[in-house]
């Protein structure tokens, strides 16, 4: 008898235990529906409508050119929607018509006047007496002032670049993150999925308690085949539950998805291996229904809890340390980084961590199962 046949009968038995199956598939499904209503969709960052401005450079000198390049920097473009006006009249018409908030006008010979040490103005035409555009221009002027001062002290500066002295750390490269309610839904769903460990635990204990293990021990079947078949059967039983989570991720948060769905599918497949193995290990070690179920539930609550407090940024002490042993933590990192075009290196590292944990736990499961069978 091969592994697949044992897996088939294991799945058949699992799904016929309708109470357990309902607990593992039905309950998460209802929970997913509730979460789908709770979740407020992802946080796309602070709603920052861009200022629409235009500029007209009639100077054609070096300072005017530098100003144009300054306006095209990424940082300026995140806050301002900038266009070039064809003429002063056209620019003013745009201001009056409300198409832009302000027009920045650089007069002819602006660079020349500055070189000669004369006063030179940059004019802002706006319907408002106070405009944020002024801050933009002021930022440029300050940079120009610095650039004219630095050569005097034998320094050098390129005013078209933003200052390198300011370090910006990207928490979410695209500005999209989970809201707190999303995080709660995510960890709730992940915890429901983690309770799949109960399946592995209870099937192992049931087969020992109900004496059917004896049938396998006295039959001419390789121990490893038997344990592998049982493992595969439990794993396949939990896959629909994982599938629900993947579907939820795709349909509820998927609108924000930047990365590949395949990474998410792979993550959940590996995660399902981990929870199947964890459950079976607890089953082999406890061999008691109540104790096994209690340990499975507590273990998953602890690991999910560690991931959750880390998500909320409130992990301290033991939890801060435990989170590195939490598969749920790695799943969260992979899913959010995949959804929101996060750090590829972090996705890779997390996937490798999950794969290593899955391999180690599978080996322990097969070893324990084999030993118990003997």
């Amino acid at each position: 008898m091969n592994v697949l046949q044992i897996a088939y009968y294991t799945v058949l038995r699992n799904i016929r235990d309708w109470k357990l199956f309902l607990l593992l598939i039905g309950a998460p499904f209802v929970f997913y529906l509730i979460c789908a209503n709770i979740t407020t969709n992802v946080n796309h960052g602070i709603n920052s409508q861009k200022f629409k401005i235009a500029y007209l450079d009639t100077d054609s000198g070096p300072i005017g050119q530098q100003f144009e390049r300054f306006l095209q920097t990424q940082e300026i473009l995140t806050a301002f929607d900038i266009q070039k006006a064809d003429s002063l009249d056209a620019g003013n018409q745009m201001v009056k018509g409300g198409k832009i908030e302000a027009l920045i006008y650089i007069k002819k010979d602006f660079s020349q006047s500055l070189k000669q040490g004369k006063k030179a103005n940059i004019e802002i035409y706006s319907n408002k007496s106070i405009s944020a555009t002024r801050l933009l221009v002021e930022g440029f002027i300050n940079t120009v002032n610095a650039s004219s001062a630095i050569p005097k002290i034998a320094g050098d500066i390129n005013v078209t670049e933003v200052s390198r002295g300011i370090q910006q750390i990207a928490i979410s490269p695209t500005g999209k993150t989970f809201t707190d309610s999303d995080k709660s839904s995510f960890i709730g769903l992940l915890e429901m999925l983690s309770y799949g460990a109960l399946l592995g635990c209870l099937t192992v204990i049931n087969i020992i308690k109900k004496n059917t293990l004896l049938r396998f021990n006295i039959s001419p079947i390789n121990d490893l085949n038997y344990v592998s078949g049982q493992f595969l059967g439990n794993y396949l039983t939990l896959c629909p539950s994982s599938g629900l989570f993947i579907a939820f991720t795709y349909f509820i948060w998927g609108s924000a998805m930047q990365g590949s769905i395949l990474i998410i599918i792979l993550t959940f497949l590996v995660f399902t291996v981990i929870i199947t193995a964890l459950g079976m290990i607890v089953g082999y070690l406890t061999k008691k229904t109540g104790l096994g179920a209690l340990i499975s539930v507590c273990l998953n609550a602890l690991l999910s809890g560690a991931a959750f407090v880390w998500m909320l940024g409130t992990a301290r002490g033991f939890m801060n340390w435990l989170v590195f042993f939490s598969p749920q933590y790695y799943v969260y990192l992979i899913v959010t980084d995949t959804l929101f075009d996060g750090f590829t290196s972090r996705i890779q590292a997390s996937l490798i961590s999950l794969a290593m944990a899955a391999t180690a736990l599978t080996v322990v499961t097969l070893f324990l199962g084999r030993r118990k069978a003997i």
């Binding site: 008898m1 046949q5 009968y9 058949l12 038995r13 016929r16 235990d17 109900k210 004496n211 059917t212 004896l214 049938r215 396998f216 021990n217 006295i218 039959s219 001419p220 079947i221 390789n222």
Partner: protein, 309 residues
Amino acid sequence: MLVEVRNLVKRYKDVLAVDNVSLAIEEGEILGLLGPNGAGKTTTINAMIGLTKADSGEIVIFGKNFKDHELEIKRDLGVVPQDIAIFEDLTAYENLSYFGKLYGLKGSLLKDRVEEALEFTGLLDKKKQYPKKFSNGMKRRLNIACALVHHPKLIIMDEPTVGIDPQSRSHIIQSIKKLTKMGSTIIYISHYMEEIEGICTRIVIMDHGRVIAKGTKEELKAQMTSDERVVVELSTANYTLIDNIKKLAGVKDAYVNGNELTVISQKNSKNLKGIIDQVSESSVIMSLNVEQPSLETVFLTLTGRSLRD
């Protein structure tokens, strides 16, 4: 010899569970294994089916050493465990299919064997039902069917009729008798002495991990120098009889319990006529029973305790 167990020893910490046991079973034989709880029967059987590793000794089944050919030997073993070992969430048919596949059966052969095993145990009409809806007797029959589905050369039955109704018990006994007629070799463990007497061609009695007697039931009974026992039912209690009865040749003891007079004599003392004459003088005999030494007596004499102790 189909099975040979030589000098088997198994120790659990300080307890010597099996002490130098040797057994031999010929093909077609039904060997009854008798013994009180803790006698070492199950440990001996467990060593024979690979559930326990013996400390020393040798087990040769089908002419092959068990240690070296375990999987090969297991293919032709059928075991009916004492505790019911079936999946309650698989139908009777699926249970047999599953266990049949464990022994390498497949395709039409598997289907035929499953149907055959179900028919043999009288469960063919229940093949699509789940065992959780079965009576205890039906579960026991399915438990037996699971062991027979692959046509094993050697069948080991450990208390297959424990805790079931008389109808199911009778069905199982009839099935085992059918198996014996078909030439199966069976090792049968039971607490029911009448089952052992009715089914087995040879009996081994174990106690304290040792084989204390073996042979056919006739041989075992003949080994006993047991006393003869005559029980007379009287119309009324009569204690005056006892002194006269005790004077008869060969009588070792006599006592009255209610209306019942029991006389214990040496074997072959031929004093039955004397007892009847003595009793008839002062009482009316309602019934009279001469008890032969039974297997139970043999067991009791050898082990000093009842089988169910």
